[in-house]
Amino acid sequence: MTLAAPRPGTQPRNATSDAAPGVGRRRPRLPFSAWHLLLAPLALLFALPLAWLLLSSVMSDAEINRFPPALWPSGIDLGGYRYVLGNALFPRWFLNSLIVSAVAVAANLLFGSLGGYAFARMRFAGSKVLLVLMLATMAVPFQLTMIPTFLVMKRLGLIDTLGALIVPSLVTPFAVFLLRQFFLSLPRELEEAAWLDGCSRLRVLFTIVLPLSRPALSTVAVLTFLTTWNDLTWPLIALNHDTQYTLQLGLTTFQGQHHTRWSAVMAGNVLTVLPVLLAFLGAQKSFIRSLTSTGLKG
């Protein structure tokens, strides 16, 4: 504990520059801290499996199947990627995942905004009960609903189509609720002025409220994308034919069928992880904020 850095723990991450001496030009002035000796190896430990994923995706199968296997590629071999992308189904799975996720994101933004706005600002009979009921559904574990949801989708004739994945993810209570909370935090006066000028609710929502709600909208978009893109359970239940598979489901099947071609499996794995990784790195701030703030405002 005596090895502590010059600024002990409790400084907020985004402290403004007047918070402490030396913060204004803080980068060059920070001396080396002994904490690096602990943190750097730990961070590397967490990064190691992903680094290994990337490395093995550019190894040749000969290198991987040697005993003991090579731990460092002798050169960059894109054979794995070529095999995966040449596999007729893999691009298809990628496209399927993209379609399902894109529709889910767009629909959650639209229906979440509409529902959230009505619950935040409008008066209608039953709104309280409905809101509580919607909130309660967030606590229902998916395992409880998956069998009947399968039966519902079967009646609708959607099993083994992307529709079976899209319909249940069109709008989540999370999106409605998060946006409602955000709308409540906006100053009401802006809307009232427009409203009294005769703007319709829809127009107020789209021209005044939503442009102010970028942070909440991006949170909903990122989390919806993450969960739909990464889901395996429901696609596994709802899809039968491999032309309909999503990337996650396809990847497990692909692994099962090509377990001797590890470089191709790993190349496929990289392509599966890459979109969420990019989405996360691109929206890191709002992502972390959403994870921490939405939950802890109890």
Partner: protein, 335 residues
Amino acid sequence: MPHHPAPLTLADPPADRSDPGPGAPAPRPGTAHRRWPSGRLRDAHRREAATAWAFVSPAVLIILGLSVLPVVWSLLLSFQANDLVTPSRWVGLDNYRALAADPHFSQAIRNTLLFTVLFVPLSLVGGLALALALNRRIRLVGLYRTLIFVPFVVSATAQGVLFSFILDPEFGAANSVLSRLGLSPQGFLTDPGQALAVLVGITLWSGTGFCVVVYLAALQDVPESLIEAARLDGAGRRHVLRHVTLPALTPVTVFLVLWQTIQSLQVFDLVYVTTKGGPLGSTTVIVYFIWEQAFKSFTAGYGAAAAYVLAFALCLIGVVTRVVRGRTHPQGAAR
């Protein structure tokens, strides 16, 4: 459908802090009456209600249709024999009785509990330790945080595929490293004695980052004045940690216990991708059991009964946490 990582309101519906009450925003009941004659007012209200219903109906239809209806349906199913194809037959409590006598189900419960008991404390303690270490202004700390959190966004499928490769007994890097260190190779996911622990390890790799992020945010909310006051009173770092920082983190810890427990009781994807419940049923967890019953053996009623047992357990945990939270942190609800 897919469960978002952060609805987090399970036991704790956020308070309607600034809820305008019925009558937002426009014709506020009191003033509106003065401004409008009652006929026009009623018209305005009716139009308002119609618009509101139009706005909420997609969400209501989908959310309630695909969760309230299935919850009830599931309950009915659990009293029936159903193969997902032919009409089902009423069997009363037979499914539950069979569950109580099914050694596979009790094994699934044991495995799930073991997973939970290992994963929850380890991820919390590890997350807290990492958060405390990361909560300082040093160079590269942003990079460290990112690297530690990044596995959280990797899907369970990708994790499973990656680790079945790394831990492959013959071609895996793990055994290759072990042999270079002169240690004997391990079976990892193929060894009934190790598989569940290995799965816990993989989940720790991806799940600890969540605790880190939540703890980091909470640490930054600990009022600095409190810490300075304790310092002035002569408390050392250790005392500050024990008597100021940790107590301030209690509500977050309660939340994380609840959240991580729910996550571990619902583990499925990773098991499906890596071990399929094996070897020798050593990694069959409850959700895997439910899935197997419903969609592999086509005994959906039996699976639904197992799902209800799980839901009941989750419910119980929610209630217990609520009580504990109410006791340790009475002002928590007002936060």
